[in-house]
């Protein structure tokens, strides 16, 4: 009899695991319900390019030029003037409290200076505690303001002239021309959701047997470490597959995320990623003695991988060492693959390097799990 691997014994373990999963209704519902919930919640909630931010206007004069400025700023879509400040102190207070993100101050002599052609000034105070909130709004200011002024002065021709004579920078916002956050967030969420449920569920799997005392019995019976590993890992990978289908359908129907690349490539890279995750969870399972420890280890891994993978913050914006650190998380590589394939229509050669990383993780985690697996109760 083969002691290393037998399909019959693996089947026994798989059947057992599926029955247990089916009986544990709450967990089962969570495995399918939570991904959908998270996707809908975060998919609609997260926005990297905030618009219509509250702003206060402190206008010392009320002439046509000031009005033109305000209209121009509102037209950028970033400013929503819902406060009119009566004094500097009041404006200061609004900004300090966080009621508004911007205070636009138009000095008393603004109109006069424009009329004189004497370099008029406006002041914009931005709450830059969160740099990403302010950056979009500020970056559009320069050109918008000067164009608006010229038009207000009735110098349409000059405005056109001015626009033409300037250095013509052509920007193509490729792959996501409208800058829709969801296109970026939803594929990322797929990775994050899979990582959370897969790693955590599998991390609990073996420690649960240890805690309930069934491990002793399992070890006393003729099941090999490889069989026990796959017996635990495959059912959860199966759950992962269902989650993937749910999330992808939701991405298409709710968020209209484009699926440009090949479906086969997308699904096979997801499969490799999922396999890596469940094996990682299983490795955690082999080193922890209680489900609590497994949980803590999972979270220890979870947070840095979300923060450093490029899901929340731009990967390129991190210092070199942090980027290197980011490379050790499967999520980092998965995000690159899935974004490239879904949004850019990348083909295998373009993402092969990242897929090799993912396969490397599968091998590494499987090796770790088997090396750490205790065949005895020592």
């Amino acid at each position: 009899m083969n002691t290393f691997f037998s399909p019959a014994r693996l089947n026994a373990l798989l059947a057992k695991e599926f029955i247990q999963m089916r009986r544990d209704r709450v967990t089962f519902a969570m495995m399918l319900g939570v991904p959908l919930m998270l996707l809908i919640l975060f998919g609609f909630a997260i926005n990297n390019d905030p618009k219509r931010l509250p702003a206060a206007l402190l206008a010392m004069s009320n002439d046509q030029y000031s009005r033109a400025m305000v209209t121009a700023l509102e037209n950028t879509g970033y400013y929503r003037f819902d406060h009119i400040a009566e004094s500097e102190a009041e404006a200061e207070r609004l900004l300090e409290r966080g009621t508004v993100s911007f205070v636009v101050t138009i000095p008393a002599d603004f109109g006069t200076r424009v009329a004189r052609g004497d370099q008029p000034q406006i002041l914009i105070d931005a709450d830059a505690t969160d740099p990403s909130v302010a950056s979009g709004a500020i970056s559009t200011l320069g050109t918008v303001a000067s164009q608006a002024l010229l038009r207000a002065q009735g110098k349409q021709a000059a405005a056109a002239e001015n626009a033409r004579s300037q250095l013509d920078v052509v920007v193509h916002r490729r792959y996501n021309p409208e800058g829709i956050s969801q296109y970026n967030i939803v594929p990322g969420l797929l990775g994050v959701i899979l990582q959370m449920t897969m790693v955590m569920m599998t991390a609990m799997a073996l420690t649960r047997e240890t805690e309930r005392g069934t491990m002793e019995n399992l070890l006393a019976m003729p099941a090999s470490p490889v069989e026990i590993m796959f017996g635990k890992v495959l059912p959860y990978a199966g759950v992962g597959a269902v989650q993937v289908v749910v999330v992808l359908i939701a991405a298409k129907l709710l968020f209209f995320v484009p699926f440009i690349g090949g479906m086969t490539l997308l699904l096979s890279s997801i499969l490799i990623f999922v396999l890596g995750l469940v094996l990682l969870g299983y490795s955690i399972s082999t080193v922890s003695r209680t489900q609590m420890q497994a949980m803590q280890l999972t979270f220890f891994f979870f947070l840095p991988s979300i923060l450093l993978s490029g899901f929340m913050f731009p990967y390129r914006g991190m210092p070199g060492w942090a980027q290197t650190l980011g490379e050790i998380f499967p999520l980092t590589h998965f995000l690159r693959v899935v974004r490239a394939v879904m949004l850019k229509g990348a083909t295998l050669p373009a993402v092969a390097g990242e897929i090799v990383w993912l396969i490397g993780f599968v091998v590494l985690f499987a090796g770790m799990a088997l090396a750490r697996f205790r065949r005895t109760l020592d």
Partner: protein
């Protein structure tokens, strides 16, 4: 060839020696009782024999297989029933048995499961969750699952803890029936009446094997003398006797006192004037029981858990 033949088995957890230089021989078809107080190393010894723990020192064979290198082969031919119910409580009785039958690759699987259920008298409860069974039924299920693959050796770790007397009786009848069919059984227990149902017993205390043999041999080899004291106000007599040299144990048994000592002459001297000192009290020579011997062992062995 002996089914179990181990010697010098030693296991340490940290700096505590849980099993210390234990030797044991069990012949085919024997039922051997493994006795000892809580924490004496019974479970650890059994686990080393079925390959669940690696001994730090010592060697031996189980069913002719080396316990260090051939634990996989041992596992396939041994039935091990754990102290705590260790089948799946969220699986039904039938599913648990199917799981075991498949792991041991018993064919035809369905037939094995059906037969086992039939033997257990659980055919009608096949779809009941194992977790909802009472202690006695859990124990029967566990035993049935352990012997489904027809092991040659059965290792039972305190199988009757928390089981009512009738279920215990039935359990032991089953064990004897199996042994009669050639199965070898090593069973750990606390109960004296169970020890007396074994062919041989081994007594372990704080990791050390203190005695082994038939019940009569163990009692005889302990070399204890016992007197039975009868009469009124025995509690006063007991307090008096405990102070006398040569008296090592004074234990009330119903309306009598068992007075035990290892030095016969000293004990006789101590008891010589008891009948005079206490009115109406009689002293007669008595049979030393297995329990007297065990109490003696426990008093004499050093507790290594306390350090």
């Amino acid at each position: 060839m002996n089914v179990i033949e181990v010697n010098g088995l030693t296991k340490r957890f940290g700096d505590k020696t849980v099993v210390d230089d234990v030797a044991m021989t069990v012949a085919q078809g024997e039922i051997v009782g493994f006795l000892g107080p809580n924490g004496s190393g019974k479970t650890t010894t059994i686990r080393m024999m079925c390959g669940l723990l690696t001994p730090d020192e010592g060697e031996g064979t189980v069913l002719g297989y080396d316990i260090r290198t051939e634990s996989l082969k041992i596992k396939r031919e041994v039935g091990y029933m754990t102290q705590r119910f260790s089948f799946y409580e969220d699986l039904t009785i039938g599913e648990n048995l199917e799981f075991v039958a498949r792991l041991y690759q018993l064919r035809p699987m369905e037939q094995h499961v059906a037969d086992t259920l039939e033997d257990l008298g659980m055919t009608s409860r096949r779809n009941q969750l194992a977790g909802t069974l009472s202690g006695g039924w859990k124990q029967r299920l566990a035993l049935a699952a352990c012997i489904m693959h027809k092991p040659k050796l059965l290792l039972l770790d305190e199988p009757t803890a928390g089981v009512d007397p009738k279920a215990r009786r039935e359990f032991w009848d089953e064990i004897h029936r199996l042994a009669h069919g050639g199965l070898t059984v090593l069973v750990s227990t606390h109960y004296m009446d169970e020890a007396e149902r074994c062919h041989r017993i081994s007594y372990i205390s704080y990791g050390k094997m203190l005695a082994t043999g038939t019940v009569a041999e163990v009692v005889h080899n302990a070399g204890l003398t016992t007197f039975v004291v009868q009469g009124p106000k025995l509690d006063a007599v007991a307090r008096d006797l405990e102070k006398r040299p040569g008296v090592e144990q004074v234990a009330p048994f119903g309306a009598t006192l068992h007075v035990v000592g290892s030095d016969k002459t000293a004990l006789e001297a101590a008891l010589a004037d008891v009948e005079k000192d206490h009115k109406g009290v009689t002293v007669a020579p008595g049979e030393t029981s297995l329990e007297d011997v065990f109490i003696q062992f426990m008093a004499g062995s050093k507790d290594n858990m306390a350090s």
